[in-house]
Chain length 174, copies 2
């Protein structure tokens, strides 16, 4: 898909295509549509990032809270979004042993209880062993620092999903 195509979309098409580049936040794509035309992928993602950056803190935490746990209940129930399922599968999280799954569930619960939002990670870039290690590491950070780190992951996920949709090469982390 090229930018000319993107820029010609009405808001219905745009939200259908880009509504989940920030997990379960079609509101953001629906707002970004106001900023068209976009010159390229960088320009498009810039508007997604700017919208998130301008949210009040509870809104940024809200964005995080729209994310599922990694290897969590929604993966078990089959209720993940298509994008999350693909990413968790690529990270090997669909084929964990029972004890790995239990360990991750316990870490996820501790993280949620401590920070009030779920552990968010651009899973596609991690191996199944790296996920619990990273989670255990981030669990002990100060809250403000961890919020910033989690939002960086949201931006990386957004960038990778946009690049997928636009057929771009796998980009560097933002």
């Amino acid at each position: 898909m090229d930018m000319e195509k993107v820029n010609s979309m009405d808001f219905g098409e745009f939200v259908e295509v880009f509504g989940n580049v920030v997990e379960r936040c079609p509101l953001i794509a629906a707002a970004v549509w106001s900023q068209r035309p976009f010159s390229d992928l960088d320009d498009l993602e810039k508007h997604f990032f700017a919208f998130i950056d301008a949210l009040p803190q509870e809104g940024q935490e809200g964005v995080l809270r729209c994310h599922p746990d990694l290897a969590g209940r929604e993966l078990q129930l089959g209720t993940l979004t298509a994008e999350s399922r693909r990413e968790q599968t690529a990270a090997g999280l669909t084929s964990l042993e029972a004890d790995e799954r239990r360990r991750l569930a316990e870490l996820n619960a501790r993280y949620r209880a401590r920070f009030g939002f779920p552990f968010v990670l651009a899973a596609r870039r991690s191996g199944r062993a790296a996920v619990p290690a990273e989670l255990a590491r981030r669990l002990h950070r100060p809250r403000a620092e961890e919020l910033r780190a989690a939002l960086r992951e949201v931006r990386t996920i957004c960038r990778l999903r946009l690049a997928d949709l636009l057929g771009a090469a796998d980009p560097a982390a933002p």
Copy 2:
């Protein structure tokens, strides 16, 4: 459901229950959770309204763009949210004659083209004859005025959905 129950919810439960009181904007419920505890229904809805009011204009338009057309494509396809389907059914929009449906589709398309967001109406409070009449009336308003009117409809829908969930009597329009 009483407020004690609401205030005891973790963010996962809260977003599951209240995630669609603003149509397809779980981000807003996920942000509002930060403001708990809530004293009553008025207090809870106040936080939803405050979040929408504080959004930049493109964010407010984004909220509108997450709404489906009335008697539109999603009703035909069966892809409406449960709440929208219930409301459009209550307004009689599921049993339109072919010519009423065509007339409404044409008005919806003109409205979208003029304003860049869909026609939003708390349909449950309208009869099937009132919907196209109201749409035709609002189609000729100045854009800024129509944006304000559409956001009032979002608040009414939010208030009615919250009251449903909390088992409150049908409230007055906000």
